[in-house]
């Protein structure tokens, strides 16, 4: 297979070095779709080691302040190359919670917080989980109900979070909670860096429809946290969270690489299987679907690159991020629906069945695909955003 997907960024020499590094150091990644947690302590240790090595080698954290190990004159395109090459090797990515927390601390944290918390992110001794989503709020982040009530020299937290990746492994939490219930909507929310072993925090694994368990529900029942846990200032949580979320840019190019790999694997599979007694690849409808998907994957890459280039040039538009998210998530769903359908009756067999094609990965990805159209702002929210804020349609 040698599909020319077009060159993402052109830092060729760096790309070659990263590729060699990944080949030499990365642990394998299970052929499962989406954000998946380590399944056991051994996997977790391997992962910590790998992430720390990436920081050590300067592939991660180069955009950090110099005193915490960043590089002078860092070019953000290097981060894209790193993310793409890790994805291309099917190696594990940076932990989402750690990346998000680091970005919030660097931009809004106190000197004390930075000194205390950033080194352990570099070494991956700390594992962070993100505590944003709530069962009652979903795509309506402003409707958040978890409260952190000021009490003496600290806060008492009560409420519930959900969809907490790595919650059961994490020792640190990046929490959003409402500190002032009288302020409307997204005002009155504060960001915190908390210890997950604080009494009153209960982490319960949540199983997804795929059967795997990568997320958690986190219950706060009067958990007392110190005032020093506040990131930024009280009431600034919405700004802190949005700024760190907006920095999740490298994810797009990695996600595109995942799509490319899936397309290539499916194309290889289509060479082998038959439909109505003829090779699948001789059927015009199959060829058309592959051709269309190849084009759509390339378009996805271009949406990501354009958005990235606009951001670097200070010309980012409201449409950029939601358009990329919509395009990726719906394309990913279409691709995996096609994969399952392509297999015909064999398409029903899943992991564990002796005859399951490719160990059931296509079925797993098909089921998981809807996560992307729901999480991180559903497709409906993305379309609202584009219509109201990019096209100016009335609310």
């Amino acid at each position: 297979m040698s599909v020319d997907w077009g060159s993402g960024t052109e830092l060729g020499e760096l790309r070659a070095r990263v590729r060699a590094f990944v080949a030499g150091h990365a642990p394998g990644r299970a052929a499962r779709a989406g954000v998946r947690s380590p399944e056991n302590a051994a996997e977790l240790a391997e992962l910590r080691h790998w992430i720390a090595a990436l920081f050590e080698a300067g592939y991660y954290g180069a955009d950090w302040p110099l005193e915490f190990g960043g590089a002078a004159g860092h070019d953000p395109r290097r981060d894209v190359v790193v993310a793409e090459e890790i994805a291309r090797a099917r190696a594990p990515m940076h932990l989402g919670g750690n990346g998000l927390a680091a970005s919030a601390l660097i931009r809004f944290g106190s000197d004390e917080q930075k000194a205390r918390l950033l080194p352990a992110i570099r070494s991956c001794d700390d594992l962070w989980c993100q505590l944003f989503s709530e069962p009652g709020a979903g795509s309506d982040l402003a409707g958040m109900r978890t409260r952190a009530v000021p009490d003496g020299d600290g806060y008492v937290v009560t409420g519930q979070k959900v969809w907490t990746t790595n919650g059961h492994w994490a020792n640190r939490g990046y929490l959003l909670a409402r500190t002032d219930p009288d302020m409307p909507k997204h005002k009155g929310i504060t960001a915190f860096a908390i210890d997950m072993d604080t009494p009153g925090i209960d982490v319960r694994p949540l199983r997804e429809l795929t059967g795997t368990s990568d997320f958690n529900e986190v219950f706060f029942d009067g958990a007392r946290i110190p005032a020093t846990a506040v990131i930024g200032t009280p009431g600034q949580g919405w700004i802190v969270a949005n700024a760190s979320l907006a920095e999740e840019r490298n994810g797009v190019s990695a996600a595109v690489v995942d799509l490319q790999l899936a397309w290539e694997d499916l194309y290889a599979l289509a060479q082998k299987i038959e439909i109505e007694g003829r090779p699948a690849v001789e059927q015009a409808d199959v060829r058309q679907r592959f051709g269309a998907l190849r084009a759509e994957i390339r378009a996805c890459a271009l949406l990501g690159q354009s958005s990235f280039a606009r951001w670097r040039a200070g010309r980012e538009r409201v449409i950029d991020a939601p358009a990329g998210k919509l395009w990726f998530s719906e394309l990913n769903l279409r691709l995996h629906e096609f994969a399952v359908d392509l297999l015909g009756a064999r398409g029903i067999l899943t992991e564990g069945d002796l005859d399951a094609v490719d160990g059931g990965r296509w079925q797993d990805a098909y089921l998981y695909a809807r996560a992307y159209t729901i999480a991180g702002g559903s497709s409906e929210i993305m379309r609202n955003l584009i219509a109201e804020r990019a096209l100016g349609l009335p609310r």
Binding site: S133, P135, A137, G138, S139, D140, G143, V162, W163, L206, R207, E208, L209, T210, G211, S213, E274, I275, E276, G277, D285, L333, E337, V340, D341, L343, G344, A345, R346, G347, I348, L349, T350, E351, G352, D353, L354, D355, A356, G360, Q363, Y366, L367, R370, A371, T373, I374, A375, S378, S379, E380, R383
Partner: protein
């Protein structure tokens, strides 16, 4: 073409009974044993309601009646292969073998299901012996109800001829399948070397063999229609309750339009499914074949789309293992792919248009 009052009553009776008997939590249990899905008592009770003898000629049973019941099985997410069993009872009566098995199915003391190769696979072969036996070779890759059944009605090819053979399920090598579907018993059945005594098999006309294929395909279509109907109800209920931005999400126009599209897809699928059942009753196999393919095409796309929309509208809630939603979504996808995919149904509709 509307349901008769009797059919409406039948549907309601089946729905009530299934709602009480179906334990969806069992489907979610890890490595769910078949025993957990349903019991011999469930089968007997279903038979008492007449659900396994619905198609027997002597009972005046029709595919139109069966359609009503199969839709309810899908709606309930039931593990019981009652459509398949009723079909076997009918075919046994029709071809004059296995009277005792047919009676056993009808009284609920045993289950029998058809075992046939998937449309794209090689047919199961049969070699007649001098002593009147038939020796089978080949495999039915996907047999719904295959583990729980005591008997299999095997659809086999003897050269260009077709035959049906009744074999004890224990004589075949059965393997539990791990599939998307968590709510049904699905097995692979290997029939290599199984010898069927004289009297337990017979050559059949293409009409009988085709009826078996078409009815099996239609059972999956109607099952998906029922399952999709359940998802519509769940979705409508959810979006009325769930609030975002201070309003029930069901008041947002885009959510309304998605729900309306689900309702129309399901209504069209249901009508095509019931039309195909009536066509099977009509006895013209060409018309019936077309009607079954129409139903498979419309419902294959429509019910899967409805399931996908249901998941989207449930948001994170529907993404959890504990929610019933995925059980129906999975079941619908299996219904779409087995016994003829949407693609195969469409190819048939094109190829027979000449």
């Amino acid at each position: 073409m509307l349901l008769s009052d009797e059919q409406v009553s039948l549907a309601e009776a089946a729905r009530d009974w299934l709602a009480e008997r179906t334990d969806l939590a069992a489907a979610r249990a890890d490595g769910a044993a078949l025993a957990a899905l349903y019991s011999a008592d469930d089968v007997r009770a279903a038979a008492e309601l007449g659900l396994t003898s619905l198609l027997r000629p002597a009972e005046g049973g029709t595919f139109a009646d069966l359609a009503v019941v199969v839709e309810e099985l899908g709606r309930a997410g039931s593990p019981l292969p009652l459509g398949q069993a009723a079909l076997v009872a009918r075919l046994l009566d029709q071809i004059g073998i296995g009277a005792a098995v047919s009676d056993a199915v009808a009284d609920g003391s045993a289950l029998a299901v058809p075992a046939a190769a998937e449309p794209d696979d090689a047919a199961i072969g049969g070699v007649p012996g001098a002593d009147g036996t038939l020796t089978l070779a080949g495999r039915a890759a996907i047999v719904v109800g295959g583990l729980g059944a005591a008997w299999l009605l095997v659809s086999a090819a003897i050269g260009d001829d077709r035959a049906l053979a009744l074999v004890p399920a224990s004589s075949a090598a059965r393997t539990a399948r791990t599939t998307l579907d968590l709510s049904r018993d699905i097995a692979a059945v290997d029939l290599h070397g199984v010898t069927v005594p004289a009297g337990d098999w017979t050559r059949v006309g293409a009409d009988v063999a085709d009826t078996l294929d078409q009815a099996l395909a239609l059972i999956h279509t109607l099952d998906a229609v029922g399952a999709a109907g359940r998802l519509l109800d769940m979705t409508v209920g959810y979006v009325k309750e769930r609030e975002q931005f201070g309003r029930p999400i069901g008041s947002f126009q885009a959510v309304k339009h998605h729900a309306a599209t689900m309702a129309v897809d399901i209504e069209a699928s249901r009508l095509c499914g019931h039309d195909a059942a009536r066509a099977l009753d009509g006895g013209d196999l060409l018309s019936a074949g077309t009607a079954v393919a129409v139903a498979g095409s419309v419902a294959g796309e429509g019910t899967s789309r409805a399931a996908s929309t249901a998941l989207q509208l449930h948001g994170g809630m529907g993404f959890t293992w504990e929610h019933d939603l995925h059980l129906f979504l999975r079941r619908i996808k299996v219904d779409e792919l087995v016994r003829g995919t949407t693609r195969q149904h469409r190819e048939r509709l094109f190829a027979t248009a000449g």
